[in-house]
Amino acid sequence: MVYRIVIRRTLLSITVAITVSAIGFALLRLSGDLAQILAGQQATLEEVEVIRKAYGLDRPLQKQYLDWLKHMAVGDLGQSLFFQRPVASLLFERLPTTMILGCLSLALAMAIAVPLGIMGAIWKGSMVDRTALILSSLGQSMPSFWVALLLVWLFGVTLQWTPISGSQGWRNFILPSITLAFYSLPIILRLTRTEMIEVLQSDYLRTARAKGLTRFSIVFKHALRNAMRPVVAVGAVQLGYLLGGSIVIETIFAINGIGYLAWESILRSDFPIVQSILVVVSLIYVIMTLAADLLNAVLDPRQRGI
């Protein structure tokens, strides 16, 4: 029964989301005295106490958490200490930029990795296959911030084809999306290849071949549909991951998304922002994983029986 899996998975995701929010809250409260950090190094004890009162940091931790959760539920993420503005509106401004970057990168990675993976599976051991595997090993081993800096140096500084920082125009997104695409390309390529090889060896495709179907129809009409299911799922999870993992890349290219905002806020000890980004990114990840799972459950008749 599909809806039973849906309900179970959704409940699990909600529990995970609440736990994550509690951990995120506790981590940032317990790893340092927030009042002391807010007051600064030179502050006297009395000043620290005044700040502790003003921000409500003297109340019991669980009460602070519950209050925070209540506010979050209605979309109030608190006030930024640096910008003196509601965090929610700040995030609302920055999130689309990160989303665009994430989607662009994922689309680029898919567009390269999926065809290469399919070709690698069909012509296993061929030049194409080996080149693709080497490419994915490189992607796996090259630190993304190094790739970013090399791209900046080559296309931004030496050739001057692209701008190297900012997020005003579409040209600003070229280098960052290439960097991030290079990062998620290996996992998609390897998965496509493995899944495709497995599907091509399955019984129903042997039947298809025995029926005399053309190779084109076997690969694109029959094999692809089954092989792509896990790939789509991983793509969804990767998107969630790219949103959280783009801190370094956004910082290098000064892309005005939530990753850059997170880094700036960490340096400024702007906790309401850091906390909210942590929770929002985790939440997006949880939703993406849930979507991937549900998609799997709906698309794969074999899972419905469980």
Binding site: V20, L150, Y241
Partner: protein
């Protein structure tokens, strides 16, 4: 598949099958990782200069093969006139030290949790799987950045924070492997003999799943080293003047217009280590997979 008789006789038990089937890729990866470890150990001997020595008259010298370079500083100097090659050599110590310490912590946490989940199954498994899901939902780099900035950035806090963050893959793999192993006869035999659970897990099951753990540990070292480098790159990892490859790139990135070697070399060193560790890990995994376990 070349026989490696000499090495084989000396090797410990669980490494023996790995070495016997050592193929090209495994040797290639092993060679790179081995050389970097050797460089890290021998750093004081092979480094041409003290990595902290500032020579302000020789700032931003290009590598020796440039017209303006000198062989006194083969890979040039940085913005404070420190010998770049010596800093790179000492940087390998930081990366390896950090990678191994982090994995030592995360492996302990991960295998314990995974082992308990796989052995007891049922509610214990449900709870630990839940913990893994929660951990995976939190972006590791963001959590690490935030916590490190709060507790103060130092080598020790980076190691502790990342060690307590990166246990998920150990837990997932151990859980699966132990779940399978706990149904095998030798475990049943040990249970019949009245062995304690701890003894069964540590003395009976652990040696049998060690090969899978070695694979995970190798790949996780790569992950940990990369995360440290990005933390240091963002200014929230190892503190200056410690020579960390990530930090060196951060210091060099403002000079990208005229002194590109400042980012090319540390990145290349990191890349080389990653290639070595990943190739080694992948070929070990292929071998562990072909064993049918």
């Amino acid at each position: 598949m070349l026989p490696l008789d000499v090495v084989e006789r000396r090797s410990s038990n669980f490494l023996r099958p790995f070495l016997r089937s050592a193929d090209g890729a495994m040797k290639f990866g092993g060679l790179i990782v081995g050389s970097i470890i050797l460089i890290a150990i021998l750093a004081p001997v092979i480094a041409p200069h003290d990595p902290y020595d500032q020579e302000l008259s020789a700032r931003l010298l290009p590598p020796a093969w440039h017209a303006k370079g000198t062989w006194a500083h083969p890979l040039g100097t940085d913005q404070l006139g420190r010998d770049y090659m010596s800093r790179l050599i000492y940087g390998s110590r930081i990366s390896i030290l950090i990678g191994m310490s982090i994995v030592a912590i995360s492996a302990t946490i991960g295998t314990t949790l995974g082992g308990l989940a796989g052995y007891f199954k049922g509610r214990v498994d449900l709870f630990i799987t839940f913990l893994i899901t929660v951990r995976l939902s939190m972006p590791a780099s963001l959590v690490a950045l935030a916590v490190v900035s709060l507790v103060g950035n130092s080598l020790r806090s980076v190691i502790l924070v990342l060690g307590f963050l990166l246990w998920d893959r150990f837990a997932v793999v151990t859980r699966t492997v132990v779940m399978h192993a706990s149904t095998l006869e030798y475990v049943a035999a040990a249970q019949c003999l009245g062995c304690s659970t701890v003894r069964i897990l540590v003395r009976e099951i652990l040696p049998n799943i060690a090969s899978s753990l070695v694979v995970v540990a190798t790949l996780e070292i790569a992950h940990a080293v990369l995360l440290e480098a990005s933390l240091s790159f963002l200014g929230l990892g190892v503190q200056p003047p410690t020579p960390s490859w990530g930090l060196m790139m951060a210091e060099g990135k403002d000079q990208i217009f005229f002194s590109s070697w400042l980012i090319v070399f540390p990145g290349a060193a990191l890349f080389l280590l990653m290639v070595g560790v990943n190739v080694l890990g992948d070929s070990l995994r292929q071998f562990a997979g072909s064993k049918g376990g």
